[in-house]
């Protein structure tokens, strides 16, 4: 394998690992703020109980997000020097604003949010919680601006092969940014909802039927049920936007080779990049045309239009894009079914959490990390779908790669993978360990903040 493919694999592994944790923290920050504010308003202990459990998960996820993020910021230099040399004038300021407006805000107020409740007044603690949540949202905003600009670049001119900014508002509000940002934030809220619902259902099942678990479970299920239709709608709009600016990607998502109308929506197929056709197609006639053009016989550009006269292929590999798109949409549909069914059961005769039968609780536990699956699948669709371009129409991925010897990249790739797999298992294990510990009643019932108090045997950072 050459340096290019290894660097791509390493980058994909790193960003995939990184994105897992921001997807949780972006929304969990707001969820914690919600618990905290509800407690301030009602004084009911159950909100604080929920807060105390989830703040631990937050701290853990945040640490994972930060350290893997630091890795990300070095990758540009170690593996993709050409990226910054070509579009640094645009990417640079965006990254700088992310660091200055978001990272420091989160990092400093995180300390106060986690450990400061007994040292600062309640309002300052609530403010710190807000600022952390706001900071994570800002991080997501700036990085999505950059990423979207890479998909739909505008507001710049090329001088001697280097991009120079001409209009910052065009760069920031590039055509795909609103959709991508909205879709990502919703993805984060859904990921977080299903995580909270799954872990709470787990605690409920093993007998930890406290008020705190009850409100967390209820809040999470209703949030998921409300947000998933919005997500599907925004996803659809996102797809329409992509069709306009990156038609090759949409053709790959649909597995659609020849330009034409009456395109079926393929439920199953095995795209064959060598033979340039699909095998074993099963589809719903005309539906893809209808979704993408809102007419049953609407014309959609096929992949064969993206091969240059000389036979150079200017579209991404079809199979990975085709499949990851289906995984994302499939997961979205599963989320829809589960969250609506669970809501209906809870609403029926107002039975609340008691209305959830065991199989439903098990299903929720199974869906705990469904948000991760959909998010990763979505990003694979987006990013692989942009290939061979790194910045659409401006530079290819190949032009950016560093000339580091392949064995060196391979060795770091393996090292990262080992560390990541270890940490990922530890992370999931510890979340469920904490849930079991809480259900046994340990650590519950500690007096509510913010009164300073000495506890001789308390573990630090807990």
């Amino acid at each position: 394998m050459d340096t290019l493919i290894l660097s791509r694999m390493q980058f994909a592994a790193n960003i995939s690992f990184h994105i897992l944790f921001p997807t949780i923290t972006i929304a969990l920050g707001w969820a914690l703020l919600f618990f905290r504010v509800r407690f301030n308003m009602t004084g009911q202990e159950k909100w604080m109980e929920a807060y105390r459990f989830w703040v631990k998960v937050f701290a853990l996820s945040f640490a994972m997000g930060v350290v893997s993020g630091i890795t990300m910021s070095f990758q540009f230099g170690t593996n993709w020097p050409g990226f910054m040399e070509t579009v640094g004038n645009i990417a640079g300021p965006l990254l700088a604003y992310e660091i200055m407006t978001a990272f420091f805000l989160e990092a400093v107020f995180l300390g106060i949010m986690l450990f400061g409740a007994s040292r600062v007044p309640a309002w300052l603690h609530t403010t710190a919680t807000f600022l952390v949540a706001f900071g994570t949202m800002m991080s997501a905003f700036w990085i999505i601006v950059l990423n979207s600009w890479m998909h739909t670049p505008q507001g710049f001119e090329m001088i001697d092969g280097v991009a120079h900014a001409t209009d910052w508002s065009e760069i920031i509000f590039n055509p795909s940014m609103p959709y991508r940002f909205g879709h990502m934030v919703l993805a984060s809220f859904l990921t977080c909802s299903f995580l909270i619902a799954g872990v709470s259902a787990f605690r409920w099942l093993i007998g930890g039927k406290t008020q705190g678990v009850r409100v967390a479970l209820k809040t999470a299920i209703y949030a998921a049920a409300l947000l998933i239709p919005v997500q599907i709608l925004v996803g659809d709009m996102h797809g329409l936007n992509t069709k306009e600016y990156q038609p090759a990607k949409v053709a790959a998502m649909e597995g659609h080779w020849e330009t034409g109308g009456n395109v079926p929506l393929l439920l199953f197929a095995i795209p064959d990049d060598e033979a340039r056709t699909n095998h074993y197609e099963i589809g719903i006639p005309n539906l893809a045309s209808f979704i993408l053009t809102h007419e049953w016989d609407g014309e959609i550009k096929g992949l064969n239009d993206f091969v240059s006269e000389e036979g150079e292929i200017l579209h991404p590999r079809v199979a990975p894009v085709f499949w990851s798109f289906r995984v994302m949409v499939g997961t979205g549909m599963a989320m829809l079914v589960i969250s609506w069914a669970a809501s209906a059961m809870m609403l029926r005769r107002k039975r609340g959490v008691e209305g959830l039968p065991k199989p439903m609780l098990y299903a929720l536990v199974g869906m705990s990390f469904s948000g991760w699956l959909a998010t990763l699948a979505g990003w694979y669709t987006t990013e692989i779908g942009r290939q061979p371009w790194l910045v659409q129409g401006v530079m290819t991925t190949k032009q950016a790669v560093a000339d580091v010897p392949a064995p060196m990249v391979l060795s770091t790739f393996i090292a990262y993978m080992v560390v990541y797999l270890l940490l990922l298992s530890a992370y999931i294990y510890v979340i469920f360990y904490l849930a079991r510990k809480m259900s046994r009643g340990e650590d519950i019932g500690t007096p509510v903040a913010p009164t300073p108090r000495q506890q001789p045997n308390a573990m630090p950072a807990e």
Binding site: V67, T78, P81, A96, F104, T412, V419, P460
Partner: protein, 336 residues
Amino acid sequence: MYYFGDPAVWLPFVFAALMGLSILIYVILDGFDLGVGLLFPFADDEEKDRMIASIGPFWDANETWLVLAVGLLLVAFPSAHGAILTALYLPVAIMLIGLILRGVAFEFRAKAPAPQKELWNNLFFAGSLMTALAQGFMLGMYVMGLDWTWAHAGFGLLTAVFLAVGYSFIGATWVIHKTDEFLQRKAVDWAKGGIWGLVLGIGAISLATPFVSDRIFDKWFSFPAALYLAPLPLMSGGLVVWLWVMLQKMPYAQDRMSWKPFVAATALWVMAFGGMAYSFYPYVVPEKLTIYEAASAPESLFIILIGTCFVLPTIMGYTVLSYYIFKGKARELRYD
């Protein structure tokens, strides 16, 4: 945009200064919390908990200065960024894995089942060690001009060890300030050991630097340039002696002046760093690329600078607030 003369001249300088400032703040702030990790093997379980509590609210923000430093390098000097980081590919990867391990071990040690705490403690130490060694190695390689020869790598290994010991020194002074009683006395001993790493490290780099290039040699030893530099070694020497004398007598009654060793250590770092910056200016890749050649387009730098003028003071402000809130001896850290 032309108020202060040609922006292609002063903007690169301003950004080099900003970058230098964030590296300096980074090595001091993350230096002390990496140092705390390096001292882990010398502490027993309860002491480890207190040491962790002394850095808990800060370490995350401390590391963000590294992100800012690399960010500024990347933003302001893109071609230097590529050249430096590809040359240092392996040590960077080792540092990153080290940072990952210690960052997460910090969280896991308090949340994982008790029998596994030992494992995470060890990983916290291992991660801190990897990070410190890798950074020291990179420092040595950078001073030597980023060429991979055996001699240079050997020098890098030397600076790696010195920097690790230097970090453990500043870590120990932090522990002196943030704890009391037995642990504090222990930390005084650690500091007495660690100060040698710092002295040897600064010494080695000072000896090597002028011989890397004639240009730097001239800066150091020709009249009158030498006069500008002269106060640095003199003041550093004085500081070391003062620190040494002070450490012999610590801790003072009623914990007076427990902050002084940390401040003195910080001053030492500042001077060592100032000397390096003075020597290498105007190069960002030693002897190959100056900050003026490597700089990004002025209009991009300008738009960052505007933001920086507002944001950096704010960041400083709330960083100070956070140190103020968590002032005093480290207490048990709790999430409520």
